[in-house]
Amino acid sequence: MRQLLFLLPLSTFILLAAYFGLGLTKDPGLIPSALIGKPAPKFDLPSLMPGEKGINEHDFKGRVSIINVFASWCVPCLAEHPIWMQIHNNTSIPIYGIAWKDKRESTMRWLEKHGNPYVRIGYDPLNVFGIEWGVYGAPETYIVDKTGRIRFKHVGPIFPGLWQSQIFPLVEKIRAEK
């Protein structure tokens, strides 16, 4: 045992190198959200559509909801848009939209052109919601459970594969909770 001690520095080095090497293969853009498991932060946004009801954090209580931060200038938002249309047409999961850092007319025109999958849309040109919820780019998607807690956050577009394999099962699981 004693004689093998000289191998300790080498094996430590190999272990560390493997650990750091593995770290290099990961996407540094993936930052765990600080809000997972916490109650949805307070906010109060007017509606994008003139004359309609706005959104605040109490709207999410009682049902599992999806909150999607989007903008008409955001290309990946357009890329993920079909999945929201599909979810809107085929399921009863409510999707709330946050029109982020955008002009009202531009967002409305964009929705007219590509379809509106949202039950309600909050208008956030000044990034008020964004700061409260720790948004750092569009698109961003949150899942809030019945008690109003944030359970999941995804940064970047959601494609059908990710929805089928991870997000939909998670929504189903959270929906089954009492």
């Binding site: 930052i31 765990p32 809000l35 850092k101 990034n127 700061i131 409260e132």
Partner: protein, 156 residues
Amino acid sequence: MKLFLIPLFLMMLFATSAEAVEPDELLEDSRLEARARALSVDIRCLVCQNQSIDDSDSDLAKDLRKLVRKKVKEGASDEDIRNYLVTRYGEFVLLHPRITSDTYILWFGPIVILLAGIIGIFTFFLRHSKNNSIQPSLVLSEDEEKRISELINNRG
């Protein structure tokens, strides 16, 4: 010939880092502004991850700079502002991680490894020098001494 290098060198000497803060963001009170600057140097821009919000030109960095200034103006303490950001963006938003139970390894790991190394080297040499002094093979026996003196004498 190399004279032209002198102005170049002087330019490099007096160059200051480019700042992203725009004139309209500055606070009027220079004391508060200085505090806001000191704070923002330590806050990570989450879009261009290895820049502080003070350096970064991104939209998010601008929003956060404005937010920091608004809070400073409202009289929030540095710690309040940091906490505000950490609860929303996570510990990652600080470029200088705080010492908490999560970051003990980060802060103290290197010191522990260094100490272990020093202790290791110390004990290694200590044991060696001890071994040397008592190793019987290194001390000549009476017979050996006799043979050596014989050999020396024979040569003469």
